[in-house]
Amino acid sequence: MSKRVLVVDDSVFMRDIIKDIFAAGGFSVVGEAGNGVEAVEKYKELKPDLVTMDLVMPYRNGIDATREILRGDGKALVVMCSALGQETMVMEAIEAGAVDFIVKPPRAEDVLAVVKKVLGEG
């Protein structure tokens, strides 16, 4: 069964790019969220195998959302999506428990390589 992914980003444009990458890579995107609050709710509801999480979002940023998700499920796999120049924030997210990160703009092969590694398939 293909792995189930939740895509979190406040930009619809970016979500579409990421969704397409996952679809092409044989993953199934089971949900998307446009902010951190929604991300936490969707995670609880969908229990995906993996989450890609934008850093900067309205209402609740990606780091807080990651922390909250992990509080509810210590085994959650959250991969951060960051732009160049956000290194410090990514490291904070890693401290908070994010398992890996991908860099925007996302390139299909990088994203899939990271995700497969995280899921232990790489």
């Binding site: 922390r67 160049l84 290194e87 401290e95 890996d100 590694k117």
Partner: protein
Amino acid sequence: MAAQWDTSRYLALFVSEATEHLDALGKELVRLEGDVTGEAIDSLFRHAHSVKGMAGSMGYEATTTLGHRLEDLLDRVRTSPNRFDRQVADLVLQAVDALSAHVKAAAAGEPFPDASALTQQLETVASSMRPGTTPIPFFPPEAPPLVQSAPSTEPQLPPRWLVTLRVATTSAQPGVRGFLAYKRLSSLGNLFRCTPPLDEVKSGKLTNGTFSVELETTENEAAVQKTVSQVADVELVSLTRVTAPPPTAAPAEEKPAEPEARALGQEPQRTVRVRTELLDQFLDLAGELLLATAGVREVGRGLDEEPRAQLNGSVDRLHALVRGLHDKVMEARMTPVSVITERLPRAARDIARRRGREIELIIAGSEVLLDRAIVDELNDPVLHLLRNAIDHGVEPPEERRMRGKPPRGTVKLSVRRVSDRVLLEVEDDGRGMDVERLKAVAVERGLITLEQAKDLTEKEALLLSAAPGLSTASTVTDISGRGVGMDAVKRAVEAVGGTLEITSRRGLGTTFRLSLPLTVAMVNLLLVSVGDDVYGLPIAKVAGVVETSRSRLSHSQNVPVLQFGASVVPARELSAVLEVPGRPHDVEALSPFVVVETDEGRVALAVDGLLGQEEVVLKALARPLDQVKGLAGVTVLGNGRPVFILDVAKLEHPARVAAGGEA
């Protein structure tokens, strides 16, 4: 026992100094096992020597003899360090314990416990170590197997690996990649000697993308390989077992009192020792400066717009500088958690031995820094959690075997920083806690009603073990899987602004998680007015605010109660609690009720007004104000007005106040 002359006025000094020496001796000894250097033995010897000398001056004969024999034994070890083995170490520890017992007895004015057998044993062993003799077994075969009973707490460290990693040069953010790999490895055990230092790894400035770190772990090679393989763009260059203890940079820098200096392989930094009181004073002064700055800004409010703008510009700059100074002072107060954890292996070993448990104690993250004041407060609670984990959490080996668990239990103490909090967890793989049983006992003891018990979440129910009425009940010790004194742990943690959380799975183990602030000195207050006075309520203790009129309160057993969410909360006038005059009020008029968490449950406090929220520097109260019940501290607002901060946790719960209904 006591000498003819009056030694009583030296007693306190003797007790404190001897205790210090004995503590140090114990600590250094545990650290020593496995790595015996002449210098380290010298230090042990000096401690024993000092204690002996002091005991002699006090006229404590038995103590002096015991100290003397210990000194002899250590002297022998000094001349032939290869004779120092676990049995000798055990014996030295026993002597330290016996001496400590004497010191305690002296302090309490009680008769000293008999130590003649031990004294004799020390002598026998010491004489067997005379140069030229071959070692003889120190313990007759029928003696209790001291060594086997807790082999796991043996402070011999888990194997250490030198892990060399390469971050792909094509990686977009090599610094973060390297850091991620580092974090992943840290989940396996303790990391040391990151080369180049972690900050450089994080900055991504690596030659060929390569860095190395030493990993102390109980995991095997394959686990390390697997962990690294799960990090994209990072490759495991080599994994070699570090056989000998790592050579120290220079012996002089390896001060026993600063084990953390070795961690993470940072360059030894130049340091000076500063008295801790001086640091407290710095902090006080920096806090005063912050308040004074706010005072200047307040003065500006009375000025015309133009001079005010000018003044504010300067005040902003001043505020930033003072804030910077304050932060640096806070930083200087940061102390590694190792101050607490370094004595735990010894404690774990003792507890496990006494209780016939086999324990592996894993400590991770002891390099994490916390405000010294918090570290000081955590000492006892952490020890207590460890004791509980071993004593009540981990099952005896036979029972574990029967349950299909490895006979040796694992207790893991891990510390990590998560943004502006520090999480300290004590986790065991023991029998777990019985939630239903806890609830039942809590109901039985009248702490909660049957209905309340039904509504409790599992987390809330587990916290019952830290309720004052429960955790002190010795009968609960075994049925709940948790012992006495959890209420003290919870109180201590909350006193420094932390929270306690318990998770437990029946049969699988329990985790105690302390979430701690990095510093204690700043506190977020909700400012409320009562009559003409302003008081601060720590936001951390405020559950919410409800606006309603007094006429709409319901009553339960003569106590006015407020509907709050799904529950009802007893309501009181804050003015009545503080015994100060409040404003006269119309029972129909809307009033704010602040719902706060006291030790005994929630209480709604009726106040005259809500004035806002403010982050303030908490100052301890000086005498005689520190004697006033209900006050946690004081702060000065920008307008120069002193504000008392209420000790919300200790507020008297209306359930215990004579039913009279003041609200």
